[in-house]
């Protein structure tokens, strides 16, 4: 159980802004922080890690007080049980993949844990390579394996997939889910990719200008109406083809383009590039834009 209740004044390009965040997160949850850049998502992760100090508030993790401004408690990052994946991975450039993963481990456990993580993350063949000889997706896997090595209570992921192409991103999302199921760390993911939020997390906080504007399950947060659906996908409109009184809307869902027939009224709400929810109620598919 993580209880977070923090405020911090940030100095942004648009002047000062107060970051206010308060949440209780259950053990093993997968949470995303969603919002435009500059909303304070990364700062929030850094405060949990202890790399940035909040002005006021408390951070209590599994009954351990990591931060409490009234009691002047502020544990340094070294004493907090965290694994963090940085946006640009921050791999140690002079160490091999195996050394990167094992550096923080006590000597007697190093070999077994590193071998296990190399296997789980599919890095066995790359164990002796240096980071500069790896692709973006491989670096990402190393960073993730390194963050998991100490079995942290909290896993913090700062837009880990944003630098990768779509294919690689989808693969790694699967991988991330698999690793999360296996090790069950409470995970906070910063993302500004809606499909990522839908695929990975059970709970999302939408941040804007330092405040939580909405929170809940991704479907609750991002679809305006509550419908009981037979199936639902989210995707992006890539093409709209008028065809008599109806239109054929091409929607990119994952890696597939799906064609959906839309009525004139529905077409009026859609433009190319818009994120949409496709849902079917019985045999009558609905298509509608997503907020956010």
């Amino acid at each position: 159980m993580i209880e977070i209740n923090v405020t911090k004044r940030l100095h942004t390009a648009e002047g000062p802004m107060d970051l206010v965040f308060s949440a209780d997160v259950d053990q093993g949850e997968f949470i995303t922080l969603f919002g435009p850049s500059g909303a304070g998502k990364t700062t929030l992760l850094r405060m949990l890690a202890g790399l940035t100090t909040p002005d006021k508030g408390t951070i209590i993790v599994n009954d351990q007080r990591w931060f409490d401004s009234t009691r002047r408690v502020n544990q340094p990052p070294r004493q907090r049980s965290i694994g963090m994946v940085f946006q640009d991975y921050a791999l140690f450039p002079h160490l091999s993949v195996a050394e990167n993963i094992g550096l923080a481990l006590p000597r007697q456990k190093r070999r077994t844990v590193v071998n296990e993580l190399l296997n789980v993350a599919g890095l066995k063949e790359l164990a002796e390579r240096k980071p500069d000889k790896l692709s973006g997706g491989q670096r990402q896997r190393v960073a993730l394996a390194r963050a998991l090595a100490l079995k942290p209570a909290i896993l913090l992921l700062d837009e880990p997939l944003s630098a990768l192409d779509l294919n690689m991103r989808l693969n790694l999302q699967e991988e991330l889910l698999r690793l999360h199921r296996r090790y069950q760390p409470t995970t906070l993911l910063v993302s500004h990719d809606l499909s990522e939020v839908f695929r990975l997390s059970r709970h999302v906080f939408v941040l804007d200008k330092g405040k939580v504007t909405r929170s809940g399950s991704p479907a609750e947060v991002f679809s305006r109406s509550q419908i009981s659906n037979k199936f639902r996908f989210t995707g992006e409109v890539v093409h709209i083809e008028p065809s008599g009184v109806v239109g054929i809307v091409h929607v990119l869902v994952g890696q597939d383009v799906v064609q959906v027939i839309a009525s004139e009224q529905e077409l009026a709400t859609l433009t190319v590039g818009k994120r949409v929810l496709i849902a079917s109620k019985a045999f009558n598919p609905l298509i509608m834009p997503l907020a956010g």
């Binding site: 963090m84 940085f86 921050a90």
Partner: protein, 226 residues
């Protein structure tokens, strides 16, 4: 080659090597602090470290001479308690050289520390790796060009120093007479042949050392930091 010449050259290199080792040991913690601390005293320390760059060596030498003279408190304390006399002695030349070459070690190390991306240190911190272990396993291995530059510049600068050594050490053969002083001494005695011998050897050695550094640094520069 006469024995005087050999003795002076050996002494010169001894002073340079010892000075460089001491500077490296002192320089790593000091430049670490200068690179990462946000303390207010930092500006003062930075200024003091850089003073030898602009101060005439004779000024530093003069103060050291006064300071370490056995008739003064510090000098008499060192002499009676540690049996150490720092004026007109080998040890005194080392102390003077360390102070005088300080910026040549500190500046490259400080830039080396500052050039390491902050998130490498942060990543180490989130992994629970101690500061000392971070220094030795992550920071120092990623700033080899800075360490090399600091060592070589300190070494070369110590070989070439004149004013401080002359003031603090004097011209005692085998004890404080370094090559640069020997040149001065030989020229005064109108012994240009020996002076030339010293001068040429110093020129050749410092040239090859610096050439080596530039060549090695080019190789380092090609290594991409991630």
């Amino acid at each position: 080659m006469n024995s005087d010449f050999t003795q002076t050259m050996i002494l010169t290199f001894q002073v340079a090597i010892i000075t460089t080792v001491i500077l490296l040991v002192l320089g790593i913690p000091l430049s670490y602090w200068l690179a990462y601390s946000r303390s207010r005293g930092k500006a003062v320390v930075e200024t003091l470290v850089s003073m030898p760059l602009v101060l005439p060596p004779t000024v530093l030498g003069f103060y050291l001479l006064v300071f370490f003279s056995p008739v003064n408190a510090v000098g008499s304390f060192l002499e009676s308690w540690l049996n150490l006399r720092l004026v007109f002695s080998f040890e005194g030349v080392i102390v003077g050289s360390v102070l005088f070459s300080l910026p040549f070690m500190i500046h490259p190390l400080q830039s080396g520390f500052a050039a390491i991306p902050a998130n490498l240190r942060e990543a180490a911190a989130t992994l629970g790796i101690s500061r000392v272990k971070t220094l030795f396993t992550i920071l120092l291995p990623n700033m080899k060009p800075g360490i090399l530059a600091g060592c070589v510049l300190s070494f070369a600068h110590t070989i070439g120093e004149f004013g401080v050594v002359l003031m603090v050490g004097g011209n005692i053969p085998g004890e404080t007479r370094m090559a640069s002083i020997a040149i001065y001494d030989r020229v005064e005695a109108l012994d240009y042949a020996t002076a030339h011998q010293y001068a040429f050897v110093l020129f050749a050695i410092t040239f090859s050392i610096l050439l080596l550094v530039y060549m090695v640094n080019r190789r380092f520069a090609r290594m991409e930091l991630l």
